[in-house]
Amino acid sequence: MTASFDFVLSLGDDALIAAQRLGEWTSRAPEMEEDIALANIALDQLGAARLLLTYAGELEGAGRDEDALAYLRDDREFRNCLLVELPNGDFAVTMAKLFFLSAYQLPLYTALAGCSDERLAAIGAKARKESAYHLDHSALWVKRLGDGTDESHRRMQAAIDEVWPYTHELFAADPAAPVDPATLRAEFDATVSAVFDEATLARPAAGWTPGGGRDGVHTEHLSFLLAEMQVLHRAHPGAKW
């Protein structure tokens, strides 16, 4: 079974927008090693985004390549989850976002590696190895900050409280997809619960569940991100260096 354009586009947009946000840390991270780590993770996300958007363009069959999809769509045409477009906040918020994203992407890519769409299976098998490193890295920081000083604990707890509502959108049921995101929820919950316990963090209470990203209804933050990401290509179409 071949995946739909919309499904592949949503995965590609998640990775692309996550890459752009993580790239904002380059030259600004709290220490040199972390600067390099965040840039590397951004590069992995960008690599997955390129494969997924290229494939989405082929599925659509309208002649759009990865560049056309990345640079020439407006905010309402993006299908990424809201989680990845949220601002970086402080370092704890960035780590909370990366932790939740990779705790979702790892089981997603792992399941895709065994799906019947061969292209998606190949991308999943490749990307899951990288996601495992992202999850490992972000989980370490969540534990280190959560189980660190009073101030780091306070900020890590505030970060997960702030970002948690945006995780629900990731698992909205899509029974027609090669992997129904709803089936990934149990593994995600088990992963985050174990890390919260070790990090002495309290699991956020159920509350509001913002969504809409998969339908192109985004926060205002995406528009600003796209303006910066797309300006060069739109001002100088096809520019190379």
């Binding site: 090693e33 390099i36 098998a125 190895k129």
Partner: protein, 158 residues
Amino acid sequence: MVNPREAAAAVVDPEIRVITIDELGILRAVEQDPATGRVVVTITPTYTGCPAMDVIRADIRRALAAAGHPDAEVRTAYSPAWSTDWISDRGRAKLAAAGIAPPAPVRAGTVVPLTLAVRCPRCGSAETEQVSRFGSTACKALWRCRSCSEPFDHLKAL
């Protein structure tokens, strides 16, 4: 004309210039159409976002042109995904000689392997520690030797 397989296999990795793409395990196939003589080379990236891929493709085309195959095509395959287990013994020895600790074998069935003791490529000590999971290129991590105090790169198992 030089054998196209030998010409492609001799291309060195642009970011780790002591090892060839064949020794690194990213050269997957070199095929020549018996009728037309056209060469098709298939490579696979170490990491999806590896920025060296464009340079590697250009280097392969240049090497094949010099070997008498100016119309060679370079294709990229993503499946099966590259593993550090594909680095040859000769490649591992070259990495170690260049001060880059080679990766431990990946256990089947695990995504990220348990990190076994990484030996310092300078003094051989196993008293080493990881400084950062991410290093100067996508495929490397930064380590430090507690015996001789030297920092070094480690090609992380994948």
